[in-house]
Structure formats: C-alpha cells, structure tokens
Amino acid sequence: MRTGYERKGIRTSVRYRSPVSAVIEITDLTVRFGDVTAVAGLNLSVESGEIFGFLGPNGAGKTTTIRTLVDLLRPTSGNVRVLGRDVRGGAAEQRAAIGFLPGDLALFPGLTGRETLAFFARLQRRPPRSREAVLDRLGLADEALGRKVSTYSTGMRQKIGITIAFQHDPQLLILDEPTSGLDPFVREAFLGLVREAPKRGATVFLSSHVLAEVESCADRIALVDGGELRLLESIDAMRRDRPRHVILRYADGREERRTHAGDPAALLATIDTTRLIDVEIRPAGLEDTVKAALQHGSER
C-alpha cells in the first residue's frame, strides 16, 4: 500500500504516523501571506530523541514552518503540536521546555552578554544549568560576556543565541540556521553540542542549508521547496540508497562508467569480471540526492 507521502510524490521510506513519542507533529500545515503560499499542506512528525534536519533552498518555507512551531506565526490552516500540545497559546511549562534560536537573531544592544543570558534565563523559568558548559565549548570568554552585545561580532552574537537556546536544558531545540556567522572550529563545537543533546533526552529540529553539517549529525532529514515537502528520509537510508558512480577498468584498456543506486550486491551481480583489473566506486554526496529531489519536485 502506498503511503500518503508516496501518493503526493514525496520520496520517503518513512510512513507518516502520529506516534505517542512524537515531539513535533505538523499536520496539513498551510501558511499563506496574501496570495503567496509559503507552506502548502506540510505533514511532519519528529520523534523524541531525534536530530531532525530541515533542509531547503532560500524561500522554501523553512523559517515560516519554524515560526509556527514556536507560535510566532499562526497557520492559515492545519495543526502544529509540540511536546504533545497544540502550540497555539501553549502552557508555560510546554514552551519553557523549548530552546529556540531564530534565523535572524536580534539581541538587545543595551545589555551585556552576561545580562542577556541572565534575562533570558529568568524568562525561561528553568535554571541555566548548562550555561557554563555551553559557553566553554563555544569559547565565549568571561571578558567578552562583560561587554555590551552591541560591540559583538556576528559570530559572538550567534554564540550568545546558541547559549540562550541550550542553557536551560530544553527538551526540544529548534534551531534556524544556527551556524551562520560561526568559524569552522566553533561550528564543529556547536555540532558536538547538537550530537550530544539526544543523550540527555533532547530532540533537535535543525534547519540549515549547509548539507554537510546536517549529514554529519542528523538522524533524518526533510527537504522542503516551494512550501512543499520533497523528501523525507533517514540519513542511513539516504547513504544506502544514494547513487554511486562506478568505473570499471579492463585489461584491454576498456573503461566502463555506471551509476548505481540501491543494493550494492545487485551492482556486483551485473559486473563482467572477465579481465577486470580495477573497480572505482565513488559515492554521490548528499547534495546530489537533494538536487535530485528538488529537480524531481520541479518537474512534477
């Protein structure tokens, strides 16, 4: 039987369901701004303890979707449930269990870094148990925390934003383009924090257009484009199924090039091994899979 996703032409090996363990459940989410449809009938479910990569090109509807998850934007239609409750007008405990980093982070210029963290900790209603550890990992020095955030570089502001999201050990982290402005070392440190979050029971919803980052830490990804879901797949399945470029070299100088996706055993069964002297197999990157999904979506 075909899944709902398959009927809509979305590539997936995952059946949509509303599991009890779902931390995020998005059902038929549509968001319109006047005549423009930013998100069109999106269905997603993110399970507890998962790192979920949310990908898409600019203007795909990623930020719009994320804003509905924290009730900063109300859907035109559809439902968004976070931590088991409707996000609209959610209870304080529910919302305090979310750590959020917006894509366009705006801190308050009159406050120092330390005051900013303390202010948000009071709003979050949870003790900032992880603050020092996160600051340490991100390399934000004590001296810098004493300065006003108006004097900070983009990267330092982003570090403060990340610390705000992580400091109260939230159950759910919703991070929109979290690595923008970070140098490679800090980016790696941040991805380490993301990878460790599920170990303490947290779920991560990570939006990015840096595919390599998402591939390095996510369990599953969703790809959206034009407000529609194009791909929903586990990273393992993508690695297994992604096309491989195969070059076969024979003793008589022949060179045969193939592209193979799916079970490697099937590939081996088709190779003529007579006078075969070399086999080169290059896996396609995640980018190829994503590009293929986007191309498939635009052709539909």
Binding site: V70, D71, L105, F108, R122
Partner: protein, 264 residues
C-alpha cells in the same frame, strides 16, 4: 518572569523617561518667574479673550494664582508629556522589537503575549505616581518662586494629581493599541503622533473658539481640566474614573489583539 521584564524595561528606558520628568519642573520655574508680572498685567491680557480662554475658563480667571500655578499640570508641553511618557517603552516594545526581530526572542523565550502587554501597562502604571509627583512639585516650585506658597491651598493642588494619572492611563492604553498593531517603531510612532497631535489640536480649538467646546469631549484632553479641579468648579472624580476606565479597557483590548495576532 514579570519582574524580569519590568527590570529589563527599567534598564532600557529609565534615562529617556527620567528626562521627561524635568518638563513640569521647567514649566514650574518659568511660571514662578513670570507669574507676578502676568498678574500685574492681567487686565491688559484680558483684552485677548482667545488667549484667556486657552489659559483658563474665562478672562477673569486666566491669570489668577490658581490658573497660573496649575500650569505644571496642564502646560501644552506637560499635556504632551502625558502622552509621550507611556509611549517611550510601549512603542519600543512590541512594535519596535517586532520591526527589529527582538520580539521573536522574547515570545519564544517564552513570554506570554498577553503577559507582555500587561507587563508594559504595569511598568507605566508604576511610573504614573512619579510623573504626577513631579507635576505637583512643579506647581509648588512655581508658587515658591512667585512667593505664593503661603497663600495657596496645597491640598487642592494635590487634587489635580488623580486626573493627571488617569489621563496618562488613557494614553497608555492608546499607545498599546497602536504598538500591538504596528509593524515597527517608525509606523507606530507616526500613527501615535497623529493621534496625539489631533487630540491636542481639537482640544486647543475647543478651548479657543467659541461655541465649539463640545469638540473637546472627543479627546482625552477634554476630560482633563486641572485648573477647574483646583478651583473646585468641576466634578473631577467622574472624569478621572472615566479616563482611567478607558485606559484599562484599551489595555485589555491591546492584550487581546496581541494574543490574536497571526504573526507575533
């Protein structure tokens, strides 16, 4: 949480709101210095009926002690202060932060949408006694400089304080409505300035021109006549309660509008 937000607002706006408080003191000093001369020439000024009507209820009372010494409660600059004082924090949040992006951080922190509006109203409410204390101090300063302090009934001047507070409460509600609906600080400021200016002009015209006194009743200023309160010629309690009630209702409507906004 509310305390955190109040502390945040205090830290952000204490300087600009504090500077506003000097207006009644400056007006009081000016009035105190000029009052003796103005009273000596009151008959000459009485020949300018429109000015007399603008300053007081009639030519005879326009340059009386009470009328002049009540100026720190009702000078045009002070009337604008009543509108500007609540607008300083309110137009910065939510409208200003909506335009800048900071509102997303606050509401996702999480700060309840209604609680945000209520906290802003509470913040201004806590500042109202300070504003009216400075207005009262302005009147007393004027009386002291003019050498009238011994002759005035200080208790009657204190009666002008509740209506002033109620007027600020009304402007607080109006500023909240504008701020929760605006896209950013600039548009909120323009809209609010248009409201305040229109109200001020209508009230001024109603005072100056004859036969159009009824127009004043369409503005908050029309229900605020501190000189009449001090003279005991107006039932101020009903007006003050009315203005305060309007302020509370507008605040509740603003909280509801913020809660129902599609976008934060």
């Amino acid at each position: 949480m509310r305390r955190a937000l109040l502390a945040f607002l205090w830290r952000r706006h204490r300087l600009s709101m504090g500077l506003c408080l000097f207006i009644p003191l400056l007006v009081g000093t000016g009035v105190g210095l000029m009052a003796p001369q103005l009273q000596q020439q009151r008959e000459a000024f009485a020949s300018l009926p429109f000015l007399a009507r603008f300053l007081g209820s009639n030519a005879a009372s326009a340059f009386s002690n009470v009328t002049l010494l009540s100026f720190p409660f009702r000078h045009p600059l002070v009337l604008l202060l009543y509108a500007v004082f609540p607008a300083i924090p309110i137009l910065a949040l939510p409208a200003g932060e909506r335009g800048r992006g900071g509102l997303d951080m606050l509401l996702a922190a999480p700060l309840d949408r209604r609680a945000l509006v209520h906290a802003l109203a509470l913040f201004v409410l806590l500042g109202i006694p300070i504003v009216i204390a400075f207005c009262f101090a302005g009147s007393m300063l004027a009386a002291l400089i003019a050498g009238e302090l011994e002759r005035i009934d200080v208790a009657r001047f204190a009666l002008a304080a509740p209506p002033a507070g109620a007027l600020i409460a009304t402007w607080t509600g109006a500023a909240l409505i504008v701020s929760v609906r605006a896209r950013n600080r600039a548009s909120a400021t323009l809209t609010y300035a248009a409201f305040v200016t229109t109200a001020f002009l209508i009230d001024s015209i109603a005072r100056i021109a004859t036969g159009v006194e009824w127009m004043a009743k369409f503005t908050p200023y029309g229900y605020y006549r501190p000189d009449h309160v001090i003279l005991g010629s107006t039932p101020w309690i009903a007006n003050a309660v009315g203005l305060a009630t309007v302020g509370v209702l507008l605040t509740l409507v603003a909280a509801e509008l913020q809660a129902r906004r599609t976008s934060a």
